[in-house]
């Protein structure tokens, strides 16, 4: 989330990438290319300029050489024919070679002796103050001296003196007009593209220039960078000329020290070279921009938009708006990853939705269960209070009445009934907990269903008669064998009978009938009544724990509403099913139990059905509570057991060695050695290990049971224990102990 502020958007990222990684390198590449091309172009241009300058310099050299040769020729004539007739030779030459403005012959005193064209104004003038004329004829050079150019006062054009010293002592002087050079550079400028050629003398004064008036004005360019470069022998320079940047090449004219400069404005150079490149660069830039614009649009359409939509829908998802999420169909995407993301997102959303639905339902169920539990706790306290109140008042009565009287008997009956009621409730609770935690272990064996049902009905006969109900039973004509836990099966039938009795009015009837479906291999027990019936909407939830069809405050029927849940749990454990039907309120109801039939009948098992035990077995009771121990001893002695009592584990072990009991009833919460330790001690002792160990404790949770079994107990009885259950458990000890060995031998 912190990244959201600093991280750029996809489009910004795209633009940044495109600018930094694409445009910038392209631009740099373009600039480097341009620079290189400009550099080579410039080098090329410099060479061209130097070429032009050299050609002009060559023209100047030729011009001067020509003049010198002519002067030499005249000098030769003068040497052979003398100087007397020189003017005719000179005038002939002047006509033949028009670049000489003037030719004159100076005598030894540097006075003009003869002059062509004939200009009497100058004839006889003394030229000795001109430094070039001051040589005394000792100049033996073949070639004439070339003077510094000057503007001829007569022609106004740049001119040089060519001075040839004659052998006779005089001098032959030609004023060579340099206007030819002006013409030459004008031609070059006309024919070329931007070339600007000018010629300067050895002091930087112009000899020829595109603007001839500058020449006439004796303009000096010595300060120009290219001129200084030229004097320094460097061929090129870049500088400002008349406020324009120019590039120039310079060449020296042989023998004179003059310079020829060819300069070209940088602008015209750029027009020819750089402009093309720049245009290309600009063109590619525009193409690039168009491409980027288009790419950006496409990116927005195919990536940004779907992503934004996805983000919006995610927000919807966060808000739990599945309708919008489900109606979301992504914008067109251009690549598989985004498509995958979209479909994954849709999948995730549907999974989340179903998971949430489940959770909501579960929460609803939990709430309901919680409500039922709370309700049940209310009921439980109410149901517990009633018997307790009866017991309390009976006990008070017992204290008042005399022993042996009918009142005493009545009071005791009340207490017994109420304790039975309480025990039943606690048993139901324990059982339901065990079933829900899958802790009940069925002691399954092959049973004959008619016989079991008959026994159950016998057990309840009296109870039903007392409730003013008639019982009608229809047994199956053939024996039906099923694999079942006898006790649990009787519990199932008893619960249903109890239930039917509870919800029937006196005078009502209960019909039980048994049938078997050999095709489906199912035994069916129907228990029908004509009681208060069940409302149709309650039928589905009737077998849930803590559920009673009528949940009114008066609780006229009593009970915790666990009976049917217990029935269902136990039936399920037997692999069977239980169902209920009712035509409606006050129309009675019918419960149907279906249990799979067992084809493989082991008739012998019927023989080992536990009988009521008559022998006198030895029982050792270990309990630190002397009262409980004494009462237990009394009870067991009454029904024919030989009983010894020990107060703790150590004592118990000692007594057991002497007493050699068949059965040990041991409390768990003993001082010192606890019940589990005792059990382990017994199991580890060779003499005691076969003793049937019964734990009798208030610790009655499934974990406690497991702990007891782990420690070595054979049975676990929760306190308080009714006599019947105790008797039954003890009878199992007879089966399991010495006689079990015998059975296995059969």
């Amino acid at each position: 989330m912190t990244n959201e502020k600093t991280a750029p958007s996809l489009r910004q990222l795209f633009l940044r990438l495109v600018f930094l990684r694409l445009l910038l390198p392209l631009l740099i590449l373009g600039l480097i290319t341009t620079s290189l091309v400009i550099y080579w172009g410039e080098r090329n241009l410099e060479n061209q300029q130097n070429e032009i300058a050299r050609s002009v310099a060559q023209i100047a050299v030729n011009h001067l050489n020509q003049g010198c040769q002519i002067l030499n020729a005249i000098a030769n004539i003068a040497g052979t024919t003398g100087t007397e007739d020189l003017s005719s030779v000179m005038s002939g030459t002047l006509k033949a070679y028009e670049y000489f403005d003037t030719l004159y012959y100076l005598d030894a005193n540097n006075k003009i002796k003869s002059l062509v064209p004939s200009l009497p104004r100058y004839l006889g003038l003394d030229m000795s103050n001109i430094s070039y004329f001051q040589g005394k004829g000792d100049n033996k050079d073949r070639n004439p001296i070339i003077s510094r150019p000057f503007i001829s006062p007569r022609t106004g054009e740049p001119t040089v003196y060519l001075i040839k010293t004659l052998t006779s002592g005089g001098k032959l002087v030609g004023e060579l007009n340099l206007g030819l050079l002006q013409t030459e550079i004008t031609n070059i400028i006309k024919s070329s593209d931007g070339d600007f050629v000018f010629i300067l003398d050895q002091y930087g004064t112009l000899i020829a220039h595109p603007f001839p008036e500058l020449v006439k004005q004796q303009t000096n360019f010595k300060n120009l960078k290219i001129v200084q470069q030229g004097f320094a022998g460097k061929p090129n320079a870049l500088y400002q000329y008349d406020k324009t940047p120019v590039l120039a090449g310079v060449t020296r004219v042989e023998n004179t020290g003059w310079l020829v400069v060819d300069q070209i404005p940088l602008s015209s150079f750029f027009v020819s070279y750089a402009c093309t490149l720049l245009l290309a660069l600009l063109g590619s830039l525009i193409i690039w921009l168009v491409l980027i614009w288009n790419l950006r649009k496409q990116l927005y359409r195919y990536v940004s938009t779907p992503l934004e939509q996805l983000s919006k829908v995610t927000n919807d998802l966060i808000e739990g708006d599945y309708n919008r999420v489900n109606s979301f169909s992504s914008a067109p995407t251009a690549f598989a990853e985004l498509n995958k993301l979209t479909s994954d997102f849709q999948l995730m959303s549907s999974i989340l939705q179903s998971r949430e639905n489940k959770l909501v339902n579960m929460a609803q169920e939990l709430r309901e269960a919680d409500n039922r539990k709370n309700e049940f706790l209310g009921v439980l306290s109410h149901e517990l209070r009633n018997p307790l109140a009866s017991i309390t008042s009976s006990l008070s009565l017992l204290e008042l009445v005399k022993q042996g009287g009918t009142q005493e008997k009545k009071a005791k009956d009340v207490i017994k009934r109420q304790i039975a009621q309480l025990s039943r409730m606690v048993d139901d609770l324990l059982d339901i907990t065990r079933i829900s935690r899958n802790k009940i272990k069925l002691q399954k064996r092959s049973l004959e269903l008619n016989e079991i049902v008959q026994r159950s009905l016998e057990d309840y006969q009296l109870f039903l008669e007392q409730s003013g109900l008639s019982l009608e039973a229809m047994y199956s004509p053939t024996p039906i064998y099923i694999d079942a836990d006898e006790t649990r099966l009787m519990q199932i039938i008893g619960n249903l009978l109890h239930n039917a009795a509870k919800f029937s009015k006196p005078g009502g009837y209960i019909k039980v009938f048994i049938e078997s479906d050999s095709l489906k291999k199912l035994a069916t027990i129907h228990i029908a009544d004509n009681g208060i019936g069940i409302a149709p909407e309650m039928l589905s939830s009737l077998f849930q724990p803590f559920m009673q069809a009528e949940s009114s405050l008066d609780r006229s029927r009593g009970g915790l509403g666990l009976g049917l849940a217990l029935v269902k749990g136990l039936v399920d454990m037997h692999g069977g099913s239980v169902s209920v039907s009712s035509a409606g309120l006050d129309k009675g109801s019918e419960f149907t139990i279906r249990i799979p039939i067992n084809d493989k009948i082991d008739k012998s098992e019927k023989e080992i059905c536990p009988n009521k035990f008559m022998g006198s077995l030895r029982v050792l009771v270990i309990d630190d509570n002397a009262d409980i121990a004494e009462i237990l001893k009394e009870l067991l002695t009454t029904i024919g057991y030989i009983v010894e009592i020990a107060k703790n584990g150590t004592d118990g072990i000692k007594k057991a060695i002497n007493f050699e009991p068949e059965i040990l009833i041991c409390d768990i919460g003993l001082p010192g050695m606890n019940g589990y330790d005792v059990a382990r001690a017994f199991r580890s002792d060779q003499r005691l290990k076969d003793i049937f160990l019964i734990a009798m404790t208030g610790y009655a949770l499934p974990e406690d049971l497991q702990k007891a079994f782990d420690a070595g107990f054979d049975r676990h009885l929760a306190k308080p224990v009714d006599l019947e259950k105790l008797e039954y458990t003890l009878s199992q000890a007879k089966v399991n102990t010495p006689s079990r060995v015998e059975i296995s031998k059969l």
Binding site: S9, R11, Q12, L15, N110, K111, P120, R121, G124, L125, D126, M127, S128, N129, I130, R148, I151, P153, G156, D201, Q202, Y203, G204, T205, E213, K216, Q217, Q218, T219, N220, K222, N223, K243, S304, E308
Partner: protein, 389 residues
């Protein structure tokens, strides 16, 4: 999502052109920063030497000023115009220079063109500085004209006295160029008046037109006949050289004198032996040992390949004093006249000088001669006054 991107584009489209415009604007500002000074003189033709020397002196000064940072942080740009020695052309080029926006004009080389030019510059209130103008006709006028050399009135009179008293010339002939009558004719008048007042006789006063390229022989033959024992030539360097040569060609060994218009290299080159011994007054301290002048001469020689004449030195002084005044006005032409008038004891190449309110100066004058193809100082003159009209 859209906004930041659009902002970036907008910014790019707004900022880049404005930066370009700003750069162009700033660049233009820097371009405009030069101070323009006009120069007008005769640069072509036979009498161009003085103008060329003047221009070279001005150029050398401006190069020095610009190299040391210019005036008020701005470079000086010189605009050069050729007046061809024609008064009408002088007016035209001065108009042209004023139109170009020059802060001041240096010129012209000769008096005739200066008179013409002032008809344009004075009404326009543009300062004109004459480097070599010495006609007394411009003295004592309170206008926009300034000059760094004094009126020739004093020097001409002193020179005349020298001719009469020292050289004992009592019959003097005068020949002058009427093309520059403002100078030459005035000079002639001054000399004539002085010479006569001394008791001498002016045997001849001959005027000629330089542009006609006369052959001077017939004038000179006449002088010879009239037995003048001294010749005063009031003409340009070239004409003076030719006249001098012609006297010797005619074998007329008359002492020659010339005005301060002629002393240039052209005079010596073209004068040959004839100009040797010719005497003249000038305000140019030829043999001066002052380091400033020597340094200037060396610089000029190096730059142009020949020695500077009085014109170059005075033009150099003119340019420096103009730059000094421009410094006071921050480069603007407004107040330049006043700034120049206030310039006192300015250090020139040949000593200090000060303008009076008429734009005239006092200077040391020298009596010179030509000896073995070189100018030499003969003696100092009394201090030359600006002179009255």
């Amino acid at each position: 999502m859209n906004r930041p991107d659009k902002k970036i584009y907008l910014r790019c489209f707004l900022i880049i052109p404005s930066i370009i415009l700003l750069v162009i604007f700033l660049y233009n500002l820097t371009i405009k920063k030069t101070i323009q000074i006009g120069f007008a003189a005769q640069l072509t033709g036979t009498q161009a030497e003085l103008g060329v020397q003047d221009r070279n002196g001005v150029q050398l000064a401006i190069e020095a000023i610009n190299a040391s940072g210019g005036v008020a942080g701005r470079k000086i740009e010189l605009i050069i115009r050729d007046d061809y020695g024609i008064p009408e052309q002088a007016k035209a080029v001065d108009r042209d220079l004023i139109k170009a926006g020059v802060s001041a004009i240096i010129g012209h080389a000769t008096s005739a063109q200066t008179f013409a030019g002032l008809e344009v510059t004075n009404p326009a209130k543009v300062v004109m500085l004459g480097p070599t103008i010495s006609t007394p006709k411009l003295s004592g006028i309170e206008d926009y004209f300034f000059r760094v050399c004094p009126s020739f009135n004093d020097s001409a009179q002193t020179f005349t006295q020298y001719i009469y008293q020292h050289d004992k010339v009592h019959r003097l002939a005068i020949i002058y160029d009427n093309d520059n009558a403002a100078y030459a004719k005035t000079y002639s008048t001054v000399v004539t008046a002085e010479f006569r007042s001394l008791g001498g006789k002016i045997t001849n006063e001959i005027s000629f037109s330089s542009v006609m390229q006369p052959n001077f022989s017939q004038y000179l033959s006449q002088l010879h006949l009239d037995k003048a024992d001294g010749l005063m030539i009031i003409a340009s360097d070239m004409d003076t050289a030719l006249i001098a040569q012609k006297t010797r060609l005619l074998n007329y060994q008359i002492p020659l004198y010339t005005s301060s218009w002629a002393p240039t290299q052209t005079l010596i080159i073209n004068g040959g032996q004839a100009v040797d011994g010719m005497k003249l007054p000038q305000v140019y301290a030829l043999a001066s040992e002052t380091p400033l002048l020597q340094e200037f001469q060396a610089r000029y020689q190096n730059r142009y390949g020949h020695t500077p004449s009085f014109g170059a030195a005075l033009a150099y002084d003119t340019t420096l004093v103009l730059a000094e005044a421009l410094k006071k006005t921050g480069g603007r032409p407004e107040g330049l006249q006043q700034a120049l008038r206030e310039t006192q004891n300015f250090q020139g190449l040949m000593g200090t000088f000060s303008f009076d309110r008429f734009g005239d100066v006092e200077r040391q004058g020298y009596l010179c001669s030509i000896h073995n193809g070189k100018f030499v100082n003969l003696e100092k003159m009394p201090l030359l006054k600006p002179g009255d009209k």
